[in-house]
């Protein structure tokens, strides 16, 4: 398949200046994408400013950076991986559409997580209204139908079932801390709790999950 048709090739401007100009433009776009994709090189406030200008590259970077935590928060509430995916996506879309309402762009991750938290609670209420069945049954059925690998499905089933035994705040704390690497103070700010309480939640959640998952307690 030819890259350029003969007519298009004849019509194209092949002067050195034109080639240089196009190469520079291409390199700039590439550089922009590389810079934005690197988690550490562009801060959240800069990304939010660019999203406010309609920049799709910055929006994608924001999605990659903050949607996983939004999903973790949603998972802690709905205890269903598929539903958590949907909630995280909805929360991110709502955040981008209302990006002007983000008063602290440097803390946009926490803001998106808060939106996900609220939406997950709404989704859980709606789900309970629709189906008068226990949460355990809903989440397990969903996992069993969506996972291809049976080992992975079994592991997910056990993890979700174990998490479901914890209070919601402990689930949120342990998932954000151990799955997404959020520091205690960030989780504390999201949940409106003191740092010490979050540390305690993480500690007790780990102990209980290890017991439920049958891991050996080693001194």
């Amino acid at each position: 398949v030819p890259i350029l048709s003969p007519a298009a090739a004849d019509a194209a401007d092949w002067s050195m200046a034109s080639i240089a100009r196009r190469s520079a433009a291409g390199l700039n776009t590439l550089r922009q994408r590389i810079v934005v994709d690197d988690d550490r090189s562009v801060d959240d406030a800069t990304l939010v400013a660019r999203v406010r200008d309609g920049d799709p590259v910055a929006t994608e970077a924001l999605a990659r950076r903050h949607m996983p935590a939004a999903r973790a928060v949603a998972l802690a509430i709905v205890a269903d991986a598929d539903l958590a995916d949907d909630v995280a996506q909805d929360a991110f879309v709502a955040a981008i559409e209302e990006i002007d309402a983000c008063r602290h762009p440097e803390r946009v991750g926490r803001w998106i997580a808060q939106i996900a938290r609220n939406r997950a609670k709404d989704a859980l209420k709606a789900q309970r209204r629709r189906r008068a069945v226990p949460l355990d049954s809903v989440s397990l059925a969903s996992d069993a139908t969506s996972d291809r690998s049976s080992d992975l499905a079994e592991l997910r089933r056990r993890l979700v079932a174990a998490l479901d035994r914890l209070p919601e705040e402990r689930r949120t704390a342990i998932l954000l801390h151990d799955m997404e690497g959020w520091p205690h103070h960030e989780i504390a700010a999201l949940l409106g709790l003191p740092d010490g309480t979050v540390r305690s939640h993480v500690h007790h959640a780990r102990r209980m999950l290890r017991r439920l998952l049958g891991e050996e307690e080693r001194p």
Binding site: D53, P56, T59, E60, M67, Q89, V93, I96, R207, R210
Partner: protein
Amino acid sequence: VSDRRIDFTALGTTADPQRWQRIIDEALARVQPALAARRQQRDAVALIASWSRPLLAAAAVAALLLGSLAVTQEDEPETTPAADLAAVSRAAVQLGTRPDAAVLLRIVGTASEQ
């Protein structure tokens, strides 16, 4: 023992990267209209901003021209026929002579032309 992290890899987004990529792609597709509207708004503002500078410059030049025109008009002496007649009569009184009839006729003629 509780200081060790729980391994949640099976529940995380990395457990099924292709599925997660689809979810991100869908989210990005859903926000495209909002982003496009923002780009349009930004471009409109930029266009107005690009116009505003030459417009301001043109307005400043026009204001200067109008100002200088007003000053020029103020400086010009009155040359109405009445003023000319007054000047001629003042000169005649000062010199103690009669005004020249030809001069008077010319002034009156100018007045009738206007």
